[in-house]
Amino acid sequence: MREEELPYKGIEGIPIIKEPGSASKVNRGSWRLVRPVYDREKCTKCKICFTYCPDAAINWTPEGPEINLKSCKGCMICVEECPTDAMTEEKEGT
């Protein structure tokens, strides 16, 4: 583009992010090689998995944890820390 044609974009031309939490739209599930699988039966709602999920991929609901597989990178911390084996590991794809 010729220099004289460069448009001025006002605030859109400033490197700030105005939408809080917009990254939740990003599919980080694509990084996952293994996935956590939740078994409501075994769950005691202790909140451990919820607390320790580093990617806030576990939401807390009145029914207990809810895994957001878009955000879950498959670190397996929830699986490792769940005291009742209500979270278990499963391979992605094949």
Partner: protein, 389 residues
């Protein structure tokens, strides 16, 4: 409007005071210190009720704190010089890249090593890639006026860029001159309260300064376009300024150019001496004039071409040096004239490093050397202060 005898440092402090900044982070360095001392005393005396005066531990932190405060939406002023300006160098790019309209007075002083306390323009010009708008004042009145104007320009939604207002160390910073100190009311009329493009406040979380991937060049281009928008904003600002204060400044300052065959291109306070010399030379019939570069960024190519297109020979007087290259402004001025059909001869003069005084005699010397060049058709590069070494 109050007429008073003040130094350049005090003039900058007055400019700041009248602009009512929210925050002033500071660190001492000669020859700037008097500016922040003046503000500190006003603060202690209750004269800056809307301002937090802060003492930082380095200039790097001064500019960092300025960025922090400006990013949340505060109006910020600071001042520095020389080594201090270089120490905050990295953060200057960040301030402009974030498009924060900080205003900073810089008081030019030569750079170490070796250490000097005296003035040249290397420190100021070292910032010419930083994305800041850059003004260089000729006298104390212009220092004060430009600080006030700087806020108008910086905060304009078409611009949103930080601004540096430079004065020469000693020759302005420590020299008393009588100037008009505008009344707060008039300044309030000229300079509206700051309405930031974005702020940090409760309920509206934003992220400032994230990394970017592909869009990087777009943000850089926007910094450039914003700087070029300043052309228009600077002109408009002058109109309003003149209406209220009766004075006006230009992108470049033209002196006796109308029929000038020889033109001296200068910056800063030496321009005053040069004008005096030119008046004398004019009385001797020498057709010489002067172009003072007042605005360095954005680079006023149009104004320069208009001013120099009829000259026969031009002397670019650089009070600075890029070792291994030469005077810093020389290439920019020359480039600007390159595609003229009938371009003038341009010689380069490197002068006044580390405070070497630029007297009328020296200006006349430069002029007669330029005349020689015109006759010989050979441009020169001259270290005008050095007679033997």
């Amino acid at each position: 409007m109050k007429q008073t005898l003040v130094t350049g440092n005090e003039a900058a402090a007055w400019g700041a005071r009248l602009a009512r900044p929210d925050y002033i982070p500071t660190f001492p360095i000669t020859p700037q210190t008097e500016c922040i001392e003046t503000l500190a005393q006003w603060g202690a005396d209750g004269e800056l009720p809307d301002t937090y005066f802060d003492k930082m531990e380095s200039e790097h932190s001064v500019m960092s704190a300025a960025v922090g405060a400006a990013a949340v939406g505060a109006r910020v002023f600071t001042a520095t010089s020389s080594q201090g300006l270089l120490l905050m160098h990295e953060v200057l790019y960040i301030a402009s890249g974030m498009r924060l309209p900080i205003v900073m007075a810089t008081v030019s002083r030569g750079l170490s090593a070796p250490v000097t306390l005296w003035s040249d323009h290397n420190d100021f010009l070292d910032q010419r890639d930083s994305g800041w708008l850059m003004f260089h004042a000729e006298n104390n009145q212009e220092v004060l006026d430009t600080v006030i104007q700087a806020y108008r320009i910086a905060e304009d939604p078409r611009v949103l860029l930080p601004v540096m207002v430079n004065m020469d160390g000693y020759v302005l910073s420590f020299t008393d001159e009588p100037i008009n100190i505008p009344s707060p009311e008039m300044v309030d009329e000229f300079l509206p309260a700051y309405a930031p493009a974005h702020t940090i406040e409760k309920g509206r979380p934003i992220t400032v300064g994230p990394p970017v991937l592909e869009d990087y060049s777009i943000f850089r281009a926007q910094n450039h376009v914003a700087a070029r928008n300043a052309f228009e904003v600077i002109e408009e600002t002058q109109d309003d300024f003149e209406k209220i204060f009766g004075r006006r400044y230009h992108m470049v300052d033209e002196f006796m150019l109308d029929d000038a065959e020889l033109v001296l291109v200068t910056q800063g306070s030496m321009s005053t001496t040069a004008k005096a010399a030119i008046m004398e030379m004019r009385s001797e019939g020498i057709k010489v004039g002067l172009l003072r570069l007042r605005v360095i960024r954005p680079w006023p190519a149009g104004a320069i071409v208009r001013a120099l297109k009829d000259a026969k020979a031009v002397a670019v007087i650089d009070r600075n040096l890029a070792p291994g290259k030469g005077g810093i402004m020389f290439p920019e001025v020359v480039e600007t004239l390159y595609h003229l059909d009938d371009r003038p001869l341009v010689s380069s003069f490197v002068v006044g490093l580390g405070g070497n005084p630029q007297t009328e005699v020296k200006i006349k010397e430069i002029t007669s050397k330029l005349k020689e060049d015109l006759v010989s058709g050979q441009p020169r590069v001259e270290w005008n202060d050095i007679e033997e070494m």
